[in-house]
């Protein structure tokens, strides 16, 4: 894709730059880039997704036009919620300020809420500024100091000084005559006016015109919020018009492309409420029955005339080496084509316009003004030593790992030296610039030298794996903290949302290859957050060339310009950004919340919309064949829906609809005004059409009574059905037609193999092969019907979520495609039955509660950007890749995780930090367009030892698991298993070769990697990858689906469960959570040797808890915690801990509750007696033990060692 950008850059003379910088090349002609950028996506329309040409719609349309009937419903003006936006905004913030703001209705209320939102983050910075304020520190930094922002601190010092000249002045950015004006009257109107600076005068006049109309307190609510969120109507700033212009260009360009779409017109604005008269086309009977009691099955049903078996089209791709980073060729690689070239990519902004020219445009460290030849640590280390001795390594480049942190110097210093002299405002600063670069680099090299004698960091301590008996730490493993200086550390993104497999990024691809470790990102972008700064601003400040959002890791060259940390372009700071609504001061762009928080959310302007924000639309597609009725899931689903109907996310526009299917498809007319729901049966499954397009998806609030009636009636409607067939494919086609005008979420409940119509499947599983050690077949889809359907849905902003509740093989590998490519999610309940399998029923109930009430984002796109030189090549998760780096997500839910593989294309020698930014643009359920931005900053290192020191072993394992899933589908399971073992062998042998002074006979690993072999072994014994143990194909495929779509925290529990001994819980080391004392028992390793017959153990597998009770377990525990007198009286199937009034019961329950609270899906508890047959479930998770088909941990280590020595 990048080659498509023409290298168009022109020479610009920047007015602010001194003459020395005039020849700097800056990529411009931005609009041109975008047109080029769009062009290829137009070409994609030839790609897949040309299925289901739907001639039917037109038939339908014509047909109905003849049958115009007169609806008689009265349209009453609805009372619309008066404050939708304000409530939505407030709901993000802490609750307390909300109350203040709404009740007082004063400006102070809003202001306090805003400040409250940001206090925690602003604290570090305030100290930071004090630091820079003092001239003493300033000189100190120029002499020795090695940390921080030495080059930029001068600016901050200047800016504060200039503020000091008129200290109490604040510049609320207001347009003249705006009604906000009144709010500012309570505050001191600024009277001091900076005479020197002409550019400020505009704002002052704006403030001096407060509007005479004070808004009513009740209506003020929203205004205040938006004000506190920095919404200001702007004076045009120099940077602003051109950005908007770009966006407009993008937009028009995108529309032009969208015109080419082969799209489907659904004749949905026709209204035909009276169905009894309808003569269906092509003699397919449309039967209208009134739902009362158990009617509905008496209608005539014609058998299907013809089935269309779809030939399996499986694309076989060449296997490639897992660790070569060159793309395990899966469907999610960037080369996939777009079915619907919607131009959200243009909306969200393109990627780098021109990689080649940007090296010229980016101000690389300029050696010219640098007087010190002994410095420059970065270039010196470009050719990394082949086998560096640890002692040797330390000398030149600062082996001092713990504090080696050059900070921003490399990036900013040289530019400043050129800029400063020409800038008259900062005249006091002129004497310094010449010293800067030299001083910075000198200081960093001094820092490096001084650390030579420092002890080796803990993460590099060599561990002899075969000698270490207890490799697993007693406490849970946390994400390693990137080795940044303290300020950046505080600002960095939380590891819960954003993790990298290597927290020290190697400088070159060669170094990365040498380390033999996977490089990639693990994302959890839409995680439920308790605190999230929401910013409403007229201009969202972004880099003009790479469209990066401004973030804490950009550098401010001066008050007026900032340098992008991803492409190094210098951008203007828009006028609006100069005003800081938090402190209500002017001229401190570095204190804006965007620059203070690495996770922020913007309220997007209409430039970020292709269409008005869609309402929340939910469609439920339910299997009601005999099999489904027998399993009895309908009762649970309808009950959950009834309970959570009011909690479904959405605004007053929320729409809901229901479809059921067996061998025919049933629609439900729920239009308000009807006395009861109407069932409409379409039996022509070869040519599905919508009987009444208008009244099938209805407003939740207007038709609530009818919906409730339907939900109450549904479980009993099909009790006597004899229909065993399942026409899932046609039902999905109908669902797609129903959803395509708006988009939204389709929830499909399926209980068996689809056996009729399009997308029918055959059983592919051979039960005798379940425990085969050789080949596991049929991991890929049998038909591309579901994938095509998903791509069509994705194009219409519809996600399909699959709930598979089957007792037999249902070919999840094929069915899962409908969710994978439409950004849906997959739930699987093997052998579900509402009475025979109560734990599954309970799990479904709990999952549904979460599923129905969790946050949801619609019509979303996600783009990941990274510093120039790095590139992303393979994405993992449920989504569709629309262009090289744009993921199209019809829906986004808080439980979705993603992974990205990275490679290093250009060496990163001229930078000390790299940044990654994900931007998720979505429509909230309240109809707001929002952008959630996460930014992660990591240091770059040049030595192999540092790379090993920064390994995040959990992230690495999760990425490897994702890659292995791709491999097992594209190649074979045994290939994937080999690749996993090779990953351990390669990385450990690569490490072994770096530490040559150690004995080669032992299997050594750095402390950061010590869990790597254990986790890989756990993966090999995971359901997804295990061989030799009987594993049902659907179980295996489901485990793979979960690996691809779960966020890291959940995935880790799935791979390597936590085991605790809980019969002797004490308060030692307990933590206090909400007035509860939660004991913290140590982690036990997953081995039967730790299980004693006298104990009881809790295993936390993420989605399920097991409590194993030993035979000789203390009767006190059984009595106090389980509530039974002795071991023998414990029932076989026990899923709850009774609430007993004893200390040990309280401890156990509070511990389990605490574990449960930490995850969105509340897991099911199984109490497993030592003798019960269910104990196999428990014991299969003891991965350190030997099984009949797999190594024990020690054997695995020996095997690895053997491989290394080979």
């Amino acid at each position: 894709m990048r080659a498509l950008y023409p290298p168009c850059h022109c020479v610009l003379t920047w007015p602010f730059l001194g003459p020395a910088q005039n020849q700097m090349q800056v990529p411009s002609g931005y609009g041109l880039h975008h047109q080029n950028y769009i062009a290829p996506s137009g070409h994609y329309s030839q790609g897949p997704g040309k299925m289901t040409s739907l001639p039917l719609d037109t038939q339908c349309g014509d047909y109905y036009s003849a049958l115009y009937t007169v609806p008689t419903q009265n349209v009453t003006p609805n009372t619309v919620n008066q404050q939708p936006g304000a409530q939505q905004l407030y709901s993000r913030g802490p609750p307390a300020p909300h109350i203040v703001g709404s009740t007082l209705g004063s400006f102070q209320g809003a202001a306090s809420s805003a400040s409250h939102l940001h206090t925690s983050a602003s604290q570090p910075y305030s100290s930071f500024v004090n630091h820079y304020n003092s001239p003493a520190m300033y000189s100190a930094s120029s002499s020795v100091a090695s940390q921080g922002f030495p080059s930029t601190c001068g600016h901050y010092a200047m800016s504060t000084v200039s503020n000091a000249a008129y200290p109490s002045v604040s510049y609320p950015s207001l347009p003249a005559g705006d009604t906000y004006g009144q709010m500012f009257t309570s505050q001191n109107a600024p009277t001091v006016r900076p005479v020197k600076d002409n550019s400020f005068s505009g704002q002052n006049t704006a403030i001096s015109h407060p509007s005479p109309l004070p808004p009513l307190p009740s209506q003020q609510h929203h205004q205040q919020q938006s004000l506190s969120g920095y919404s200001t109507l702007t004076w045009s700033s120099p940077g602003l018009p051109s950005t908007q212009d770009n966006l407009i260009r993008n937009h028009t360009g995108s529309l032009a492309v969208a015109n080419n779409n082969p799209t489907i017109t659904v004749a949905d604005s026709l209204s035909c409420p009276v169905m009894q008269n309808v003569q269906p086309p092509k003699s397919s009977p449309v039967v209208s029955t009134v739902l009362s009691g158990s009617s509905g099955s008496s209608s005539t049903r014609t058998p299907p005339t013809a089935n269309h078996p779809v030939e399996p089209v499986t694309s076989v791709t060449q296997p490639s080496e897992l660790l070569q980073q060159k793309g395990v060729d899966s469907s999610s690689t960037t080369s996939s084509a777009s079915p619907m070239p919607n131009s959200y990519d243009a909306l969200e902004g393109g990627s780098y316009p021109d990689m080649l020219s940007s090296s010229a445009s980016s101000p690389a460290p300029d050696p010219a003004p640098e007087p010190d030849p002994a410095s420059a640590p970065a270039p010196a280390s470009a050719p990394a030593p082949v086998v560096p001795q640890p002692s040797k390594m330390a000398k030149p480049f600062g082996y001092g790992y713990p504090t080696l942190q050059p900070g921003y110097q490399n990036a900013t210093a040289p530019l400043i030296s050129g800029v400063q002299p020409s800038n008259p405002v900062y005249s006091g600063f002129q004497q310094y610039p010449q010293q800067y670069p030299g001083v910075n680099q000198l200081s960093s090299s001094i820092g490096g030298l001084s650390l030579q004698s420092s002890p080796q960091p803990e993460s590099l301590r060599p561990v002899n794996l075969t000698q270490e008996r207890n490799i697993l730490p007693m406490t849970p493993v946390w994400a390693p903290v990137p080795n940044l200086n303290a300020d950046l550390k505080k600002l960095n993104c939380s590891p819960d949302s954003f993790r990298c497999t290597l927290t020290n990024i190697p400088q070159t691809q060669a170094l990365l290859n040498k380390a033999k470790l996977p490089l990639g990102l693990l994302l959890h972008p839409f995680r439920d957050l308790t605190q999230l700064p929401v910013i409403t601003s007229n201009t969202i400040v972004r880099c003009r060339s790479c469209r990066t959002y401004i973030n804490p890791f950009v550098s401010f060259i001066d008050q007026r310009r900032w340098k992008c940390n991803l492409c190094y372009r210098v951008n203007d700071v828009p006028e609006e950004f100069m005003y800081n609504p938090l402190t209500r001061s002017y001229g401190e762009p570095h204190k804006r919340p965007e620059v203070q928080n690495s996770t922020v959310e913007f309220i997007a302007s209409s430039d970020y919309m292709l269409r008005p924000p869609q309402p929340a639309v939910y469609l439920f597609v339910l299997d009601v064949s005999h099999n489904a009725v027998e399993a009895g899931y309908l009762t649970i689903l309808c009950q959950s829906l009834l309970e959570n109907l009011d909690k479904l996310p959405g605004d007053s526009r929320t729409r809901i609809g229901f479809m059921t299917f067996d061998s025919t498809i049933h629609f439900y007319n729920l239009q308000e005004g009807l006395s009861q729901p109407q069932m409409l049966i379409v039996s022509d499954i070869d040519d599905v059409f919508l009987p009444t397009p208008d009244s099938l998806l209805v407003n939740l609030y207007e038709s609530k009574e009818l919906i409730k009636d339907l939900l109450n009636a549904l479980p009993n409607m099909f009790t006597n059905t004899r229909e065993t067939h399942s026409a899932l494919g046609p039902a999905l086609q109908a669902a797609f037609k129903l959803m395509s005008p708006t988009g939204g979420r389709v929830s499909v409940f399926q209980t068996q193999l689809p056996s009729l119509g399009a997308g029918l499947l055959q059983s592919r599983e051979d039960p005798n092969q379940r425990s085969s050690t050789k080949v596991v077949q049929h991991l890929g889809p049998a038909t591309d019907f579901y994938k095509k359907l998903a791509l069509d849905c994705s194009g219409q902003q519809t996600a399909v979520d699959l709930f598979l509740l089957s007792s037999q093989y249902s070919d999840l590998a094929s069915l899962a495609c409908m969710s994978k490519y439409s950004a849906g999610c997959i739930y699987y309940y093997p052998s579900f039955h509402y009475t025979h399998n109560p734990s599954q029923a309970e799990k479904l109930q709990k999952d549904l509660k979460r599923y129905l009430t969790r946050k949801i984002g619609f019509e979303a796109v996600m783009r990941i950007r990274c510093t120039k030189g790095l590139s992303m090549h393979t994405f993992h998760g449920n989504f569709f890749v629309r262009s090289t780096d744009l993921l199209s997500l019809a829906n986004i839910n808080p439980d979705a995780g993603f992974a990205v593989q990275l490679s290093i294309e250009e060496s990163l020698t001229d930078t000390s930090l790299v940044c990654f930014q994900t931007a998720l643009l979505y429509t909230s359920s309240k109809g707001e367009r929002r952008i959630r931005v996460h930014t992660l900053c990591l240091p770059v290192v040049s030595s192999l030892a540092d790379v090993y020191a920064g390994v995040d072993v959990q992230a690495a394992i999760c990425l490897l698991a994702n890659m292995a899933v791709d491999r097992s589908v594209s190649s074979s399971l045994s290939d994937a298993r080999d690749a996993l073992v090779n990953a351990v062998v390669d990385s450990l042998s690569a490490y072994g070769s770096t530490v040559s002074n150690l004995q080669h006979s032992a299997l050594m690993a750095p402390s950061s990697l010590k869990l790597f072999p254990l986790y890989v072994l756990a993966l090999l014994k995971q359901k997804a990858f295990r061989t030799g143990t009987s594993t049902r194909l659907d179980d295996r495929v489901y485990a793979m689906c979960q690996i691809k779509s779960q966020p890291l925290v959940h995935l880790m529990k799935m791979i390597h469960p936590n085991l605790y001994r809980i019969d002797r819980l004490t308060d030692e080391g307990a933590v206090h959570v909400n007035d509860r004392i939660v004991p913290q028992p140590p982690l036990q390793k997953l081995s039967a040797e730790k299980l004693t017959r006298e104990g009881a153990f809790l295993m936390d597998c993420g989605s399920v808890f097991y409590i194993w009770v030993g035979k000789g377990c203390d009767n006190n525990f059984i009595e106090d915690v389980l509530g039974y007198t002795n071991f023998a009286s414990i029932p076989q199937k026990m899923t709850h801990l009774p609430e007993l009034d004893t200390l040990s019961s309280e401890r156990a329950r509070s511990f389990i509750t605490w574990l449960r609270d930490s995850r969105p899906l509340s897991p099911i508890l199984h109490i497993v007696k030592d003798e019960s047959p269910a104990k196999a479930e428990f014991f299969q998770h003891l991965i350190e033990d030997r099984t009949e088909a797999a190594f024990s941990y020690y054997e695995f280590l020996l095997h690895v060692q053997q491989q290394i020595c080979k």
Binding site: S65, Y68, V70, P71, T72, V75, P77, N78, T79, V80, N81, Q82, P84, G85, D178, T179, Y180, L213, P215, L216, Q219, H222, Q223, S226, S231, H251, T252, L255, A258, N259, N260, N261, T263, T265, V266, D268, S269, L270, S271, N538, I603, A604, S605, S606, M609, R611, P612, P613, Q614, P615, D651, S652, R653, N699, S740, P741, T742, G927, E928, R929
Partner: protein
């Protein structure tokens, strides 16, 4: 077949969309028209308060009042009277539902997207003319439109080729608001071209003279 396809509510001052119908049509013609929606919304302040734009198979009608404009897209054969009474109805409902202060101070696009519910229902009603006739009195609207016909925007005005905005001050007088005259670049006339060539010639001659003067100095 005549029908209303979509409608939206836009603030006149800055073209901020306040609400819109979200029953998205997908045909290519519609996409084109959505583009016109955008273009129009940017120039609402300069347009009279009742306008029609004919774009091939579709018509765009809009009315503006109290700083808010109500825009609708319908097929070309949809009766004008019905279109404007539809807009009238939207306007009445919008004004009663949302107070002006709020519409003036809104910053987020589509702040009042929930008005979509009403648009949706009204649209359905108007697309079904037989149900409609009993409910509204069209004669008033008919006479009003006859007396003050909507201003027809031509495509070239919308295109505004090179100027900042197009000059329609000339024709809009009858329709209500008089927009101020706008500057616009125009193609050079013959006299302009002649003048330009002559001045070029003079410049060249002066240059030659200058060279000669320098030569004579040396």
């Amino acid at each position: 077949m005549s029908m209303i396809l979509s409608a939206s509510v836009i603030r006149v001052r800055d073209g901020l969309p306040l609400s819109a119908s979200t029953d998205y049509e997908q045909s290519t013609g519609m996409q084109e028209c959505r583009k016109y929606f955008k273009m129009l919304s940017r120039k609402l302040a300069q347009l009279p308060d009742r306008c029609t734009l004919k774009t091939g198979h579709y018509n765009i009608n809009f009315i503006s009042s109290l700083g808010v404009s109500y825009m609708m897209l319908c097929t070309e054969n949809y009766p004008n009277v019905l279109a404007f009474s539809f807009l009238d109805e939207l306007q009445k409902e919008f004004i009663t539902t949302y107070n002006m202060m709020k519409t003036n101070t809104a910053v987020r696009p589509y702040c009042f997207i929930e008005f979509d519910n009403f648009i949706q229902r009204t649209k359905q009603r108007y697309n079904n003319p037989r149900s409609l006739s009993t409910k509204i009195n069209l004669s008033d609207m008919q006479t009003e439109i006859k007396l003050r016909p909507p201003y027809q925007i031509s495509m070239c005005e919308l295109g505004s080729a090179n100027g900042v905005t197009s000059a329609f001050s000339v024709d809009c007088k009858g329709a209500g608001k008089i927009s101020s005259a706008h500057q616009r670049l125009e193609p050079a006339t013959l006299s302009g071209i002649v003048g330009f060539i002559l001045s070029l010639l003079c410049g060249a001659l002066n240059l030659i003279r200058g060279f000669h003067a320098i030569e004579s100095l040396l």
